[in-house]
């Protein structure tokens, strides 16, 4: 027994070092898997406040660009107003039917919640954004996030007033997308080299692909509604040994100056997830 105590005393520094390493590594690997860590909510609230202060300065320098983005988005939305679609004078007037079949059931599936970006990185291999809207304002993990120009990422962690968004520029991020022309689905991920480009995989060689084609979200991802801009094809890397294309996609969102985003709430996400999980369980 005495020797045990002597051993501990002699190597106390080394043991303390090992303990700290184990704590740090367990934090890290737990976070990589589940995106939660001890004190993350409290810390998120504090770092969020500091990010917001910093953004107050940085925001000023980007006002012009942000304004342009919002104006062009408004223009796009104005084009969609139903008042624009009116045929001159005829019996077949175009009207949008807003009557619900069952007035008790919600028919709007996606809700948009505007949020300001207060923290953002592009230089690391694991990039996150911090947005100024948290669980108190209706944000939950696993909500899609889009900017006026295109998709941004997915909410992974929320505190009461701030949320962390895993950016499209994160090595672990994956999202199902499709080609706007043919509708072939593939997966977008980031290879970590250039924050302007992401990689699109699993598009079959049978698809017609050319440079400049648009890539949009697929409704099968269940985080995003369909047909939201992801980017445009910049380069086609033809791999002879594979039946699939590997495409370099220029992201629609400019991650260097994104200031406002929309968090997308899928009101039927839980229902769909539950059904899919139970189906998977049934046939295992």
């Amino acid at each position: 027994m005495r020797n045990v105590f002597l051993f501990i005393r002699r190597y106390s520094n080394f043991i303390f070092f090992l303990v700290l390493q184990i704590v740090a590594l367990s934090f890290l690997f737990r976070y990589n898997k589940f995106h939660e860590a001890a004190f993350m909510n409290v810390a998120g609230e504090i770092t969020g406040k500091m990010d917001e202060k910093y953004n107050g300065v940085e925001y000023y320098f980007q006002l012009k660009r942000t304004n342009q983005q919002l104006v062009s988005e408004n223009e796009k939305l104005h084009q969609l107003l139903k008042e624009n679609y009116e045929i001159a004078d005829s019996s077949r007037r175009f009207m949008m039917d807003t009557l619900r079949i069952d007035s008790l059931r919600k028919i709007q599936k996606y809700y948009y919640l505007a949020a300001k970006v207060v923290g953002n990185t592009v230089s690391s291999q694991a990039n996150f954004l911090t947005i100024h809207r948290g669980s108190a304002q209706g944000v939950k993990p696993n909500m899609g996030v889009v900017s006026p120009q295109g998709i941004v990422g997915t909410v992974v962690n929320v505190s009461s007033n701030y949320s962390s968004v895993m950016s499209l520029l994160h090595r672990q991020y994956k999202v199902v997308v499709k080609l706007k022309n043919g509708g072939e689905r593939g997966t977008v991920e980031w290879d970590g080299s250039n924050p302007l480009y992401v990689t699109l995989k699993d598009i079959p060689k049978s698809a017609k692909v050319s440079r400049g084609d648009t890539v949009v979200t697929s409704q099968t991802s269940s985080l995003f509604p369909g047909n939201i801009m992801v980017g445009t094809i910049n380069d086609i890397m033809d791999d002879k040994s594979s039946n699939f294309f590997t495409l370099r996609v220029k992201t629609a969102t400019n991650f260097f100056n994104v200031e406002f985003v929309y968090v997308i709430e899928n009101s039927q996400y839980d229902e769909q997830k539950k059904l899919e999980d139970s189906t998977r369980k049934k046939f295992q």
Partner: protein, 177 residues
Amino acid sequence: MSELLKNIVRFALFIFIQVFILFKIPPLHRFITPYLYYLFILWLPFNTSRSGLMAIAFIFGLSLDYFTHTPGLHAAACTLVAYIRPFVINLLISQEGADKSYASPSITSMGWAPYGTYVLVLTLFHHTYLVFLEWMNFGSFLFFLGKVAATSAVSLLLIFLTELLFYRKEKFRTNAA
């Protein structure tokens, strides 16, 4: 200013400079991430106990981690630096006894060559471990080698500039004082 107060101010300053200046620089290349924050650990006084060093380094690394959303990554690397620091110091200044006559490691207290070696060795340890942890999650071996080399070079340059810009005057302590 007392040594404790000075280090508390440094703690906050190094984290803010790292998070709000160095991490905000548009990426030059994927191998290059400018790191300077761990200089805080290199500058801690000689008379800090070894377990104290590690505890401070752990808290320091973890507070940076909460800004970058990678809890544990920088904390692990900082703890390693703090653990190795006393060994390196003992190797480099055992003859001159600078740890008795000066407060903390610097060019004045250790001399150019030993201080340079001290910074170089700990920088390499820090970056190798940090990039190794990153490499475990993703990336190729080329990524590992390239990033350790490029990031170390940039860090050494930054530390060199910091030492030139913020020259730390070290008082020589005699037995009388």
